[in-house]
Amino acid sequence: MEKVSASLEENKKYLQGEFQNSMDFMMRELELSGTGAALFALDGLVSKQTITLSILNPLMGAPILAGDGEAKMKFVEKSVLGSVEQKREDRMEQILLLLMSGFAVLFIDGCPEGMVFGVQGFESRGPEEPQNEVMQRGAKDGFTESYQNNMAMIRRRMKTTALKFEKAQVGGQSHTPLAICYLEGIASPQVVEKVKERLENCTLQTALGAGYLVGFLERGGLFTGVGMSERPDVVCGKIEEGRVAILMEGTPSVLLVPFLFVENFQTLDDYLTRPFYGTFIRWLKFLAFFLSAFLPGLYIAITTHHPELLPESLLLKIAQAEAQTPFPVMAETLLLYFLYEVLREAGLRAPRSLSATVSIVGGLVVGDTAVSAGLVSAPSLLVVALTAIAGYAVPRLYEPLALLRLMFLLAGDFMGVWGVMLGLLLLLLHLCGSESFGVPLLSPAAPYSGDLAFRDVFARAGWEKLSRRDAKVQDMPGSREIGE
């Protein structure tokens, strides 16, 4: 059934058929001056109080004009109901979708259209501080699972008519609604079009999280060209720079494109502190990234192939520690690394009441006992622990770092420092060849633009300079029109 029928009975039968065996399907029949009518909704998605106060009470209490169904519907629409969100709809597929999105629908016998009302009343979590993006000085509210609430959070911070929210939908089965958000006149129209095109081509049947869409928005690679944030202030800042945000119903994570490599090192706190300290923190994060990626590989490379690089006293200490363990340094580092990953995963997945136990068993029992039993050396344990801690300074890069560490470990073991250097070269080639929606991932460092690089990459300039002109993401050096 494509269109709404003028017969109430047919409409009733159709909806009852579609929602057969669904106990949340609700129907309330009523009579309007001798004409049959029925109101449909899904329990749990709507607010019964709102339905009673804004639909049923006015309908039952008002004197309805005599006439056919069409005339009654018109009268009800114009003179009886005071619901804010109401519209007439004649496509049955759309009505089904709206019903499942928390709308109520009213059919009047003789009228070939239904009237839908926005009476959503499902429970939703209130804004809380995001646990994955903790800030020292930023706002304490974060996105929720309702994309409408999320839109409101963005709108509250950017009171401009240039802010647009375009509607989209993904999921052949789930019909998950999305909002494509951008600043008109700032965001690149090509990027907006490309986002829409890629979302339209999304073949997902069910989309349960923002991460599902990432694979459809980019080609893939070690480093993502799609950012994610749970903070409205961060998303507003990104939109201001010409990025496009994708808000998805059912997830507090908002996707951001284009997303550059340097953004992995930027946090809102950088901009809330004084420039020199923001710059210092930025460099600490760069250092943490290199430490986390290269330290285990370099440790293996130097101790195995190039001991001449180390000062004698340090070399002796390492040699002494290694002499007391049964495994070669590569094996024990690899073992410790995997043990750490297992402990991390266990700590993450274990029930909260048990995660403290996991930490104690992992940190104290396994770590301390393994060293005192002479199974692993203290320097190797120190290297793995340092690597792990450094990785958390750039949490957005945790996934690629986990793989990079392993790659550099193997390269260091096979070819020493040269292997690590070759690995670095491959990493650079990969990064230099990657793009996010036509913008080079490493921009503005490579291709280099001194002005932009010392504005907000290698240094965090003061707000006077930052606000002096736009730094639109699509204007980064090396950017090109998509599809070129």
Binding site: L309, L422, L429, P440, G478
Partner: protein, 368 residues
């Protein structure tokens, strides 16, 4: 292939990295022995001569800015012209192969004879192949990063060894006449693939190319000059007895926080070499794409170039008789002269003789 463009700055920085990677590998056995100070003069002269050698390339590029030399030869000479991109392909294989072979020899002779040099060379070729397949933009951007590392690494090494510089180690210039200086000029020209790189890759470069070339020549002369001056001042006659004097220079660096920097120095050198190889392999791609009717990217060219490069390097490193031929300075000089001057001049003359109005026609061609 001309769709993706890099800036002149990126191109000549890449060429700088390639040149420095080749210059670091210069050694007494394959590069001719002599007073390092005279070698500086040789380098400066070779750069001056380079401006003259490059004239036909600039001339052809001015007439046919959208065409690389291979494409121009095919368009102007038809079937016979296809020999030109093929010859360039072989030239890049030879230059890449000999550079890689020198690195293998360095690993085997100087670092550790038991070291799996062939494995390192294969890994280097693999990295370069990955770069060539990612495209010229990726390689050029990466080269900029390597350039920074190279400057930092070499700056650190040069800065530390500068304390050991002793003017007493310097020998008077031209004490044994000028013959070694001339030989040095030939040597440096023989080991330069920048002319061929320009002939093939200039259409993919935008910006102030002439200025870039001049800065490249000056910059490399400064770098090589500084390295050779330090070799002469720090090592003296001892440098002449060493296989790879620049490496020996780095191995005498001692800093408090680290013992020696030679492994790091060699790593940076490797990265420079990989950039050189990647550019060579990308040029191989362009050469083979000129043979096709549709001038689209030819990934097979990079694969074929990588395999042949690896084969050439292995032969030159492990077969003494092959090494004699492949690393012969006269052969390399002839090849570079042909690729850098003779072939571009020939194609330019034929293009002039055919007398076609070039620019508008090219635009049409580029559109197709």
């Amino acid at each position: 292939m001309a769709g993706r463009k890099i800036s002149a700055r990126q191109f000549f920085i890449s060429m700088f990295v390639s040149r420095v990677a080749a210059a670091i590998a210069l050694n007494g056995r394959y590069a001719g022995e002599g007073n390092p100070l005279e070698t500086i003069v040789s380098y400066v002269l070779s750069m001056g001569l380079g401006f003259l050698i490059a004239l036909p390339i600039w001339g052809l590029h001015h007439r046919r800015p959208q065409w690389d030399l291979g494409r121009a030869a095919v368009e102007d000479m038809g079937f016979i012209g296809k020999l030109v991109p093929l010859l360039y392909f072989l030239y890049f294989v030879l230059m890449n192969g000999t550079s890689l072979a020198l690195f293998q020899l360095f690993l085997m002779d100087t670092v550790n004879p038991a070291f799996p040099a062939a494995l390192v060379a294969a890994a280097l070729t693999g990295a370069a192949l990955y770069g060539a397949l990612r495209g010229i933009e990726a390689v050029a951007r990466c080269a900029t990063c390597v350039f920074v590392l190279l400057l930092l690494g070499c700056g650190l090494v040069f800065g530390i060894v500068a304390w050991r510089f002793s003017p007493e180690n310097l020998e008077p210039l031209f004490y044994d006449g000028f013959s070694r200086t001339y030989e040095g000029v030939f040597l440096f020209i023989a080991r330069t693939s920048v002319f061929a790189d320009m002939a093939i890759l200039l259409p993919m470069v935008k910006g102030r190319k002439g200025l870039g070339f001049a800065l490249w020549a000056g910059g490399t002369a400064l770098f090589v000059g500084a390295a050779l001056l330090l070799v002469a001042g720090c090592l003296g006659r001892y440098a002449g007895t060493q296989g790879f004097p620049v490496y020996v220079l780095s191995s005498i660096t001692q800093v408090r926080s680290m013992q020696r920097l030679d492994a790091v120095f060699t790593g940076v050198w490797m990265m420079g070499l990989a950039v050189k190889l990647a550019f060579g392999l990308y040029a191989c791609r362009v050469c083979l794409s000129s043979l096709k009717r549709d001038p689209g990217p030819c990934r097979g060219g990079a694969w074929a170039g990588a395999l042949l490069t690896e084969g050439t390097a292995l032969c030159a490193a492990f077969l003494p008789w092959a090494r004699e031929y492949l690393m012969d300075t006269r052969l390399l000089f002839l090849c570079t002269a042909a690729a850098g001057f003779v072939l571009p001049l020939l194609v330019l003359l034929i293009d002039l003789l055919r007398g076609k109005k070039p620019r508008g026609e090219e635009e049409n061609h580029a559109k197709t």
